[in-house]
């Protein structure tokens, strides 16, 4: 008994370590990737001094921030000021606890699945951690004891909660189709192909080549999810939280050194979370469009998953380079008057369609 206990413990520790390391390296890479891509989109070179293609720039930035003096304003509420970046980072990391990223692998006769914990309410766990992330923002804004952070904090928390509703509502059609809240089960439900499509008549056979991904069933929900997801992460064009032209730096105006870096890390982790959720829920997770190459085993699904996630990360960067920032009143209007009614409508429509087909 103690042998299996030890083996389990080692596997869990290894998984946690791998997830942590991969995420850290991924964030460092994405920061570099974003600067490089935006630079090329604007006919600049981007970071190119540190390492090949400037790859080590973000590492250098991180090191620099670590060795900087943490400055807390005299007007700040000291404990909360230190707590806010901690909450941000913790919530961002914890969201990954229930995100699966591949099939499973057999190590020393021990089946290790590619996720930290397969929760039966995994999807809700990710959303719950997302709702805790609001605290990081609102507390950072309040605890600074300064005007710009307070405005930025309360603005962006209002934005985050508004789009959180649209985000949750857009996921419900997927749950209806899959009949589960476990992310692994939802991915399994998306394997295979659609099969011949009856109402297309003679060309219905084309469905045999279309994978059974929920994006082909719930395209409106997917678009709502994507918009709400970009807003939820406070990324451009919804980056009202740190609208530099009017709010200086938003909720983290007074933050410097490693505490600022923690907010930064949390933001990029959220980008990865939303990308991973989009892939898992709408794009079939690690299900590829080609048959699995038996030689590669578990690597092939993993590669598919990573490739799809990177597509969305690129989309985030692309949006940033392309679109100007929204006005705040427009932003709230889009959230409440377009996305939420649209999500509710799609929910009822797809429910009717599904009930009709049963």
């Amino acid at each position: 008994m103690s042998m299996t206990f030890l083996a389990d413990l080692v596997v869990i520790l290894a998984k946690i370590l791998i997830v942590f390391l991969v995420l850290s390296v991924l964030v460092i890479f994405i920061v570099w990737f974003e600067r490089k891509v935006v630079a090329h989109m604007q006919s600049r070179l981007g970071p190119n001094r540190w390492g090949p293609f400037g790859l080590l720039t973000s590492v250098a930035d991180g090191m620099k921030l670590m060795f900087k003096e943490p400055i807390t304003p005299i007007t700040a509420d000291h404990v909360t000021f230190a707590l806010a970046p901690g909450i941000s980072m913790l919530a961002a990391f914890l969201a990954f606890a229930s995100i699966p990223f591949g099939t499973s692998v057999l190590i020393f006769g021990h089946r290790a699945t590619f996720e930290i914990a397969d929760l039966n309410v995994g999807l809700l766990w990710v959303l719950a951690m997302g709702s805790l992330a609001v605290y990081g923002v609102v507390l950072a804004g309040w605890s600074s004891g300064s005007k710009y952070p307070l405005l930025g904090g309360i603005r962006s928390s209002a934005q985050m909660i508004s789009y959180e509703i649209a985000l949750s509502l857009s996921l419900i059609p997927v749950v209806m189709s899959a009949g589960s809240l476990s992310l692994r089960t939802i991915v399994h439900a998306q394997s295979g192909v659609i099969g011949s499509i009856g109402w297309l008549g003679p060309v219905g056979g084309v469905g045999k080549f279309i994978p059974h991904w929920y994006i082909f069933y719930h395209l409106p929900a997917f678009l709502i999810f994507l918009l709400a997801g970009v807003a939820e992460t406070n990324r451009p064009p919804f980056d009202l939280a740190e609208a530099d032209t009017e709010l200086v730096g938003g909720y983290h105006t007074e933050y410097s050194g490693i505490k600022f870096a923690m907010f930064f890390l949390a933001e990029y982790l959220h980008v990865v979370t939303i990308s991973a959720l989009a892939v898992l829920l709408f794009l079939g997770g690690w299900n590829g469009v080609t048959p699995n190459l038996p030689v590669l085993g578990w690597i092939w699904p993993l590669l598919w998953f990573v490739a799809k996630v990177f597509f969305f990360v690129f989309l985030f960067v692309w949006l940033r380079a392309t679109l100007p920032r929204l006005r705040y009143d427009k932003l709230m209007a889009v959230g409440w008057r377009v996305l939420i009614p649209a999500a509710l409508t799609w929910l009822v429509v797809s429910g009717l369609a599904m009930a009709g087909s049963v």
């Binding site: 206990f5 869990i12 946690i16 942590f20 670590m66 060795f67 003096e69 943490p70 807390t72 304003p73 007007t75 700040a76 901690g86 913790l90 914890l94 606890a97 930290i116 914990a117 397969d118 039966n120 309040w142 600074s144 004891g145 300064s146 005007k147 710009y148 952070p149 307070l150 309360i154 209002a158 909660i161 508004s162 959180e164 509703i165 949750s168 509502l169 419900i172 209806m176 009949g179 589960s180 809240l181 200086v248 105006t253 007074e254 050194g257 490693i258 505490k259 923690m262 009143d329 709230m332 209007a333 409440w336 008057r337 939420i340 009614p341 929910l347 429910g351 599904m354 009930a355 049963v358």
Partner: protein, 122 residues
């Protein structure tokens, strides 16, 4: 480690503990390696280069409260929808009608707020 779902949640707790240590470690390491040079001006809050005027804590608009409450209402709706969506195909028409009525009543609330121009940020 116990098997089954309780084991999964124990793993989760374990993960949470390690991440908590990580956050504390990051802040602690920064305290250890960072220099400390005291300058009074450094601890003032930012205000476009001049000394800050007035306190930082000020009242915010009531609109934020309005949106906060609307958020709570619709979050509760979403929370009811998730378990419903899981058993949607097994419970049949009755549950579907129930949910349509539920959404309809809440949509009325949203429509009322829209009519009263609460959803406009002016």
């Amino acid at each position: 480690m116990p098997k089954g779902y309780f084991g999964e949640y124990l793993t989760l707790a374990f993960f949470a503990g390690m991440m908590l240590l990580l956050v504390a470690g990051t802040l602690g390491l920064n305290k250890l390696v960072s220099p400390k040079v005291h300058r009074d001006e450094k601890y003032l809050t930012y205000e476009c280069g001049v000394d800050p005027v007035g306190g930082g804590w000020s009242q915010t608009q009531i609109r934020y409260y309005l949106f906060g409450l609307l958020f709570v209402v619709f979050d509760v709706e979403a929370v009811f929808l998730f378990p419903w969506a899981v058993v949607f195909d097994k419970l049949g028409t009755a549950a579907f009608v129930e949910m349509v009525i539920f959404i309809g009543i809440l949509a009325l609330g949203l429509a009322y707020a829209w009519r009263k121009k609460v959803l406009e940020w002016l």
